[in-house]
Symmetry: C2
Subunit: 368 residues, 2 copies
């Protein structure tokens, strides 16, 4: 059976402003590794398991070229540009259409849907988990996810719930698929604490594994318009249909695959994983994804710190790097590029979006 990876890389990642911009969002930044952008890391991570010829990138028209530039080792035709911003369900229908166009309707293909902008540690364990999930999806008519075993009561993630183990609350066995009971939204602090120790809740990693045929069966049942759209896109790609790919795509529902499909389907499974995982949601994530110094500061690029602790200072490295000095502060984010500066407490890092929106409102799109 053919194995493909589809890396979803259409996100806009505004919360990393000023480093992130419309044409250079989070997945194109070197946030977690000093030498590789996050999407390069994602490719490097999966390539030992799935060769580059079978890695598709699904992204926006705006980002297709910047991503191609960042990934010279990837065949250009493997970068799929969504004609407009829809959500993950439409994105994956487009990817399925490309695979069916490339290999024919009857080809048996199993696909790993991966993310471009999350940090994943222990790549060997990651690949072993992916390999197990692909094997399971290849043999079962199943929609499979990876659930990360929680290490802290995180309130910023969605959770996947399975039935409690009949033999008690022992930890789940990594790699063995378990039937999913339901998906849970981002929890409150007390509920997150319960989930973290329950043994039957996992962080929703946003990774999926299924045969193309299983995906289409699921869409037919739960998102029939999307299933029809997928067929029309295969026709459009082959030059057969009456509507352009763009026209078909624009008519697709704007719904996430989690809500549109996974939360409705009965054949959903989770493979528990114990590799380190972080969604790198905002600047404050850098204190988890980089190693802080003895004053608990994370400093990227050159910066002068005087009496500063528990802070994140990101001065975008490069020949035109600015001079940055921070004095006497505690628990702040200072992030700079050659034309933009953000200063906020770590616990306000989510609100960067508000600042970006205000910059646009003032007509300063060139900075966003």
């Amino acid at each position: 059976m053919l194995r493909y990876a589809v890396i979803m890389a259409g996100g806009s990642g505004e919360r990393f402003w000023p480093a992130s911009r419309r044409a250079r969002p989070k997945q194109l930044l070197r946030l977690t590794d000093p030498d590789l952008s996050m999407i390069e890391e994602a490719i490097e991570r999966i390539a030992p398991l799935i060769p580059r010829a079978q890695i598709l990138i699904a992204t926006s028209e705006l980002l297709a070229q910047p991503i191609a530039d960042a990934l010279p080792g990837l065949p250009r035709e493997n970068i799929l540009a969504e004609p407009e911003k829809r959500n993950t369900a439409a994105c994956l229908a487009l990817a399925a259409a490309h695979l069916q166009h490339r290999h024919g309707h009857d080809a048996e293909i199993v696909m790993a849907v991966l993310t471009a902008d999350h940090q994943i540690g222990a790549p060997d364990r990651f690949r072993a988990t992916v390999a197990g999930a692909l094997d399971f999806a290849a043999t079962e008519d199943a929609l499979v996810t990876i659930g990360v075993v929680p290490t802290r009561p995180e309130t910023g993630y969605g959770y996947i719930e399975v039935a409690p183990s009949p033999t008690g609350d022992g930890p789940p066995e990594a790699g063995r698929p378990i039937r999913v009971l339901r998906f849970r939204e981002k929890p409150s602090e007390p509920i997150a604490r319960e989930y973290a120790k329950s043994g039957h809740h996992f962080w929703n990693s946003g990774m999926f594994f299924w045969r193309v045929s299983s995906l289409l069966r699921g869409l037919e049942q739960h998102m029939p318009n999307l299933a029809t759209g997928e067929h029309a896109m295969v026709d459009a790609l082959a030059g057969r249909g009456t509507r352009s790919l763009r026209d078909v795509f624009l008519a697709l529902e704007d719904v996430s695959v989690d809500i549109g499909l996974m939360e409705r389907a009965g054949n959903v499974w989770v493979v528990p994983a114990d590799f380190p995982w972080d969604d790198v949601g905002a600047w404050d994530a850098l204190e988890r994804t980089r190693t802080p110094d003895e004053l608990h500061n994370v400093v990227v690029g050159d910066a002068v710190l005087v009496d500063v602790k528990d802070s994140i200072v990101f001065n975008e490295p490069g020949a035109d790097q600015l001079a940055v000095a921070v004095i006497g502060l505690d628990g702040v984010v200072v992030a700079t590029t050659r034309d933009g500066i953000l200063v906020c407490p770590k616990d306000r890092a989510q609100d960067v979006r508000r600042a970006v929106a205000e910059l646009r409102r003032r007509g300063h799109e060139r900075f966003t």
Copy 2:
């Protein structure tokens, strides 16, 4: 009698980094007025009283050209470059030598020594005070200063003490010269509170008024080497002496005129003044010298503030202005230019010098 103003403009003003640089210190910045640098303000302020042809600027060789560029209306020969950094006593001896060279040894000249980098409000009252001090100095063999009537228990300034009024502690009469008892260093908080209400203590404004002949008499008595040096500089300027101006200047004492002359002389007078005055010592001064908004923020240039109060945000205006966003902070300074950024609490604004020193230590002189 000839009247001259000598504006001392040799300071380096590191505490306004990143706006201040070696070749563009505080007096060349638009800190207190959106359209004028501080030295332009100083000229505009005194020019209605003393014409530009009789305004000398004493500065360093590094700054002579930038200052000339900033002051196209001033005769170029009125900008005096000190061959090296000495202190205010040597600076004023050089200015006296230039005046004697220009007008001859026997000319009767009275000079106002003014500052280039302080904020002064109520310019009419300022000029009236200066005019009174010049008139007094023209007729008396006196070394005259302006003392600002304190409006708060400021611990950052030096004070001038006069004898308590025999009729009680009533406020001093602005404009009437009073004999000075002594100079007082920057006081502690409780002592500053006493001074602020005593009625016989004034802020030392660093402005002086004297005839050239009175200055030279004072130097002969209290800094005889400087008096000799002044004569040698007159000779050097006339091409008569055996030593160059530079050689003479480099041998002068490195002492302030306050310590070397004023604190030792017996004929020192203070003219009380009630105009607003601020030495604009560091970034936090902007909350006094500019008008804060309703959240007590002072914002210079464009910046996005979200939930910010009691803060100073300076984004150097200009075509290459950066995009600045500050979120959720209270009582901070964020100061940016197109190649440098400072972030600190307002009460650490004095420590900017430490950051500048560290930048130099790291070899980043180009940013300082």
